[in-house]
């Protein structure tokens, strides 16, 4: 199987990852602990896009103060829609990043990074890239937690039941 096929075949893991993040964030007040011991807070922010996996036209784009706790968002989940993208607010070590996370590509867009301390071009480059790499590493840490649960049949059975109960 070539890389392209491998990537396309497994994109659905991104959809499940976002639902898992949403569920874990709600039940743990946004707190996560990564496998290396890093603590972070992740909250769903003011934009949430849900879509029916069978019909792209059936899309719900929710905006506002906190759309993830709205009745509309729950109803969309109950109708079988999956999260296609969500605006995420992630905090760690007293710094905050905000960005849109695309489920199927895990691409980050519209990233807002913490304020830069430097003004010189070279230093700005290093600081900007370091802040981007830091949030990317945190995201990968979360995906690592998720994938370990998702690929463990016994653990996933338990988690999936809880997610289904939460979404009901």
């Amino acid at each position: 199987m070539d890389l392209f096929t491998k990537i396309e075949t497994t994109r659905h893991f991104g959809d499940t990852f976002l639902i898992w993040l949403w569920y874990k964030s709600e039940i743990n007040d946004g707190l996560f602990s990564l496998s290396d011991g890093t603590s972070l807070s992740l909250l769903f922010d003011n934009q949430l896009i849900l879509e029916s996996p069978l019909a792209e036209a059936e899309r719900a784009q929710l905006t506002g103060a906190n759309p993830s706790v709205s009745e509309e968002a729950r109803e969309a989940l109950r109708q079988g829609k999956t999260v296609k993208a969500a605006k995420i607010a992630l905090s760690c070590r007293e710094r905050e990043w905000k960005f849109m996370l695309n489920a199927q590509s895990l691409a980050i867009s519209g990233l807002k990074i913490p304020a830069l301390m430097t003004k010189a071009n070279d230093e700005k480059l290093y600081e900007r890239q370091a802040l981007i790499e830091e949030v990317t590493a945190l995201l990968r840490g979360l995906f690592d937690l998720f994938l370990n649960e998702r690929l463990d049949e016994q653990r996933w059975k338990e988690v999936a039941t809880k997610i289904n109960e939460w979404a009901a």
Binding site: L3, H12, A107, G110, K112, L125, I132, L147, A167
Partner: protein, 204 residues
């Protein structure tokens, strides 16, 4: 834009392969080989794509100090194309045709029409500049990771092909599968991902 200032929307890649020991000299040479060449008003090319320095996108020579920053390689993909205003083009072709054949009741051949069009296009190109798009690229050599400051599918596909051709290295776009590979999941786990059916929410 994006590496130094402005919008932070990008596509991430993992870069396969180790850089050579003398990668500064080698990569500089490779970038120079794929350097952007300006479009000329004369000629058939409608569009040119090439590498530039982010800080000096109008220069065609790469300087080491503009590209290499510790573990980072910073460069840009420049895309120029002629975008002549179609209403102007049409009106000028009509005017030129009327001037040449004023008072003559003749059928104008396709060859002559094409000639007139080429002349008008050349005249317009000499009065205007092509559109220019610059897409920043930051490559972290130490981490084998690269960010391409665009989320356009067409632009990223063009970039992937051009990058692989320039550096003879393979890019792996960020995705659940490539992220799992990067995180060090074993082959058994990766195979499990490949054979898994999508999990569907079934609210109880």
């Amino acid at each position: 834009m994006g590496a130094l200032e402005g919008s932070l929307s990008f596509k991430s890649y993992y870069v396969d392969g180790e850089p050579p020991n003398d990668f500064h000299a080698d990569y500089l040479k490779r970038l120079q080989r794929g350097a952007f060449e300006p479009l000329s008003p004369v000629g058939d090319d409608e569009r040119h794509v090439g590498w530039v320095s982010v800080q000096h996108p109008l220069q065609s020579e790469f300087r080491r100090e503009d590209i290499f920053f510790n573990q980072y390689i910073l460069f840009g993909m420049r895309i120029d194309k002629w975008a002549l205003p179609s209403t102007w083009l049409k009106a000028l072709i009509k005017q030129e045709t009327e001037l040449r054949f004023a008072g003559q009741d003749v059928k104008i051949s396709k060859r002559v029409k094409d000639e007139i069009k080429a002349e008008v296009v050349l005249a317009l190109r000499q009065k205007t500049l092509p559109t220019m798009k610059l897409i920043d690229i930051v490559w972290n050599i130490a981490e084998h990771q690269l960010r391409f400051w665009s989320n356009s599918k067409a632009e990223s596909e063009e970039f992937e092909e051009f990058f692989e051709e320039t550096f003879d290295l393979r890019l792996r776009p960020e995705s659940p599968y490539t992220m799992a590979e990067f995180l060090g999941f074993e082959q058994k786990a990766l195979d499990k991902m490949l054979s898994a059916t999508p999990w569907m929410l079934q609210p109880l």
